[in-house]
Symmetry: C2
Subunit: 391 residues, 2 copies
């Protein structure tokens, strides 16, 4: 790994440990175990998105017993606006506030600033933006975002980056990448200069950018690898580029990121996206798809995709999905869930969200089993076809 | 009990049994046990309202483990419109459809027809009304409502009655009561002429009406008592009349309804309403208040009433209510629940609904304990003051 950029690195050994337990012979898939101060995470793993400290329509009890989540996400942009760092600090951090005692990862807020906020302006210093809630003006700098994530208290926190829009030109992507790299050094400096707030270790993951350009992605991977962070993320994918391009860039990044550190592909994706990217060597995933699509009556199941809103399920009293270790998926029938959606009952949103998340967690667990069994590639090929089936 | 109206009574002994276990010496409160084919119910009891086969924002799992509900309600009007009796029959009844294996009570749809539906017309035959969903025209007759409730499959089903609006004149209330009584005879005839559909016994409860007029109420109680039904309901209260009038009429009805049958006060009410009416001899309650008020950020707690939306809870990290045997009430803090309401998160509705229902079930359970201990009246006096406190 090149070390030429290694100006700012980690001051102290982070407690996050990644034990790379198995490597598949038929693909680049691997199975491992991440240890944080809030417990262990078996990889590959999917992380449900808990936007403002709550996974939409799902209780923390359901996350534990039904979904069997091992780590959840919090969004820095949302948590900064509501409830705000003042409340979170007085609570003793997000774990105390939402009473989730397993690991938490927070994003940097960058993606939301670019996708959600009103008028925003990118400068060397940082980004000024308007709150989507009340239009108030705010400034996110790399230093400020580190401070905010210190206050939130995630076990894993993310560097502040610019995520260029899908279809960005080379010149813009190049300029943006250089800014992201300068911001990373500022993030690291601030991170190293500030202590953990709540008695457990926080771990900063840098993010690879570079849009769809291989040379920029390679440059970014090497710069990021030089920081020797406890884990590395791939950002800026699944933002509008064609699926084959996403796969190509993800694979390319995995080839240029350290083997011995967990790789986190941000914001991806469908169940088949996840299986393909596990095969490339990705260890961690997050996406709003299981909850957002669930709230729109789209279910991912062990037999394929279901639009539960459809009339064809009106008299289907079979369980939503008998193949999952999730009580809700076997307890409620397709006809009942369809009825709840038709009647716009809140419980419909909960059942669909819990089911889809359980399915995602089951899927990465099955992937792990097949990596360990050594037949990941062949299993994946069959599963991708099955999971894409429209029922 | 007068027997002069006893033209139509029950053809066969119903399996619903009411074991009157304890009578309080200091009030008319009583503790008992109702046995149905879907299990036992300890009285006094509160029944969560599961409008269309789902208690709003609450899963059946939460109803069992957190709320500890012993029986839930279904609304005939809503279930008839969606999913419809065809779906419910093919499912094998509501218990199979929503997978709730404890007792279910269905109302007659009368109240909803009068309060929710569009243009409606009351005739001797029944009521024509328009669906609030699509404006389609429907006719509810006593016979039709019995058939619908047979198809839904509640353990306890209700007679089709007219519920006169609050503040009705004597002449209207009198006329309406006579109609309700004629409809009751038609309900009984149809009920007796039709078999149980799903292998367990359904039990028809008649409803006392008569607005706020004691002579009409007495007449109604006597007519209803003459039917020797397995239980009797008091309807037409909490429809706009002053609280003291509601108490006076409820007390009056309890005095004129059989002692040995459970008494069900429909649609009432606040926690203090429930304690007062238990003291008069009511055994069963239902009300949308815990769920509806919960969804509007109003919490009933063991220490008084909380508007959780209020800024005063912003930094209050104490549990919602430590006095309840409900995990959600102790797991989540006031500050966290307030945050979820402010951010309009769906989980807020679930936590508030589960908490309020748990509180109601806890309250009737405590009432039962004090009836058995023989100090109900003095306990109630203190509790009513405490529960009304605005925190």
């Amino acid at each position: 790994m090149t070390n030429c950029f290694n100006v700012v690195t980690f001051a102290a050994m982070a407690t996050l440990n990644f034990d790379l337990q198995y490597k598949d012979n038929t693909s680049n898939a691997r199975a491992g175990e991440i240890t944080t101060d809030h417990g262990k995470i078996q990889t590959p793993i999917f992380m449900p998105v808990g936007t403002i400290g709550s996974v939409k329509a799902v209780s923390q009890q359901q996350l534990k017993t039904e979904v069997q989540a091992q780590i959840i996400l919090g969004n820095t942009y949302h948590l900064y606006l509501r409830p705000g760092t003042d409340v979170l600090e007085k609570a003793g951090g997000l774990h105390q506030f939402n009473h989730w005692d397993k690991p938490i990862l927070t994003d940097s807020g960058g993606y939301q600033v670019f996708s959600l906020a009103g008028t925003r302006k990118i400068k060397e210093e940082g980004v000024t933006f308007q709150s989507h809630i009340d239009g108030s003006k705010h400034l996110f700098t790399p230093e400020r975002v580190m401070d905010i994530q210190r206050s939130i208290g995630g076990d894993i926190i993310m560097a502040f980056d610019e995520c260029p829009p899908g279809g960005s030109e080379y010149s813009y992507a190049h300029k943006s990448l250089q800014l992201t790299h300068r911001w990373l050094d500022r993030c690291l400096a601030q991170f190293n200069a500030t202590p953990d707030k709540y008695g457990y270790t926080q771990n900063l993951f840098p993010i690879v950018q570079g849009a769809t350009f291989k040379d920029l992605r390679r440059q970014s991977c090497e710069f990021i690898a030089s920081k020797d962070a406890p884990g590395n993320a791939i950002g800026g994918l699944s933002v509008g580029e064609p699926e084959p391009v996403m796969y190509e860039i993800c694979d390319w990044c995995c080839q240029h990121l350290p083997q011995e550190k967990p790789r986190y592909l941000m914001g991806v994706g469908t169940p088949w996206n996840i299986l393909e990217c596990i095969g490339m060597g990705v260890d961690m995933f997050d996406c709003v798809m299981p909850t957002r699509n669930g709230r729109n009556a789209m279910l991912f199941t062990t037999n394929g995709v279901i639009n539960i809103d459809n009339k064809k399920w009106e008299y289907d009293f079979s369980p939503i999905d008998e193949g999952l270790p999730c009580e809700m998926s076997t307890y409620y029938s397709k006809a009942y869930l369809r009825h709840l959606f038709k009647a716009q009952e809140i419980l419909a949103l909960t059942i669909a969200s819990v089911h889809n998340l359980s399915f995602y967690l089951w899927l990465v667990g099955e992937a792990r089993k097949h990596i360990i069994a050594g037949d990941y590639a062949s299993w994946k090929t069959g599963m991708v076809v099955k999971l894409k089936t429209r029922l």
